[in-house]
Symmetry: C2
């Protein structure tokens, strides 16, 4: 796999701001490269993620406003992989994870907020269900990424972080990192 | 383990309604028994979960309004297990999962929306980080439950469901279940 990029479809700034921010946090923490919010701009999310990067490192990107159809055509044209997370999809078997990991192209993960256009079900290389029950897209993305990386991306740290958590059984410890050395 | 119960702390109806609903969906889909929203009532979440249960089965419960301190005292008095998911906590090692699974009591999973009182860090048996990066509580809960059940609870179905998804590689298929037989 090259880059893992989340495609957030159907974002409504008033209603979905926190949910979409949480999707970005999950994707960043688990090693995705960035998120594209289709069809609309929401500067608040971009600035939240910028703050997180500044303090905790890395360069998780947010792109906004790309038309979803144009983006998906681009993905297909480049022969990149398009995965759609949906409760209607197939189970995430190990054989599917292995297939995805062998791909030498970018992997786009389509995560809907509003009802997803039927074309996506057709055009996605895989429609994958993380539970066939009514499910949270945040929960689905988190489990999908955790399993995609065989559980190895759960405790990533990022370059140029100013802050680092010192894991503690009872309390809160944060260390400031001196990047001058 | 007996029942797995989510404790949702700091819920603000206007701001957190969707997030808390998503937490309930994740918990239900992955086999928890119910969720307690502390200190406040939010009938909308209760009715959403009731609808989900009616269509998709099971009896995931929502309790509301219990004072958090009273609830936590009760948990400690009963010698039930209290787990707090926080980015400041320790890594979820296999040895910790094994310890938790051996417990013969209820397991309460404390998930904060607002800043969590410092007492919780002291009183929790385990403060566990699902990533030490800024993280979504939805994402943290989903991965925690998936790993707690060794990945075996991802495709649960529930008793008395009216609807069932037929997993499909490209499309949406739902079957109505005739419970008369």
């Amino acid at each position: 796999m090259k880059d893992i990029i989340i495609v957030r479809y159907g974002h409504r700034p008033a209603r979905d701001s926190r949910m979409t921010t949480h999707i970005a946090l999950i994707a960043r923490a688990l090693g995705a490269s960035g998120m594209i919010i289709t069809d609309i701009r929401d500067e608040k999310i971009k600035s939240t993620v910028k703050n997180v990067n500044e303090n905790w490192g890395g360069n998780f990107f947010i792109e906004m406003g790309t038309k979803w159809k144009k983006l998906v055509h681009e993905i297909k044209k480049n022969d990149d992989l398009l995965i759609h997370l949906t409760m209607y999809g197939v189970k995430l078997k190990k054989s599917i994870i292995k297939k995805i990991r062998k791909i030498k192209k970018n992997v786009y993960i389509f995560v809907g907020s509003q009802k997803v256009p039927h074309e996506i079900y057709k055009w996605a290389n895989f429609n994958i269900a993380i539970s066939n029950q009514p499910q949270s897209e945040c929960g689905a993305l988190a489990i999908f990424l955790d399993r995609l990386f065989f559980g190895k991306n759960l405790y990533l740290s990022f370059e140029n972080a100013k802050l680092r958590v010192i894991p503690t059984l009872h309390g809160k410890k944060i260390e400031e990192i001196n990047n001058d050395y």
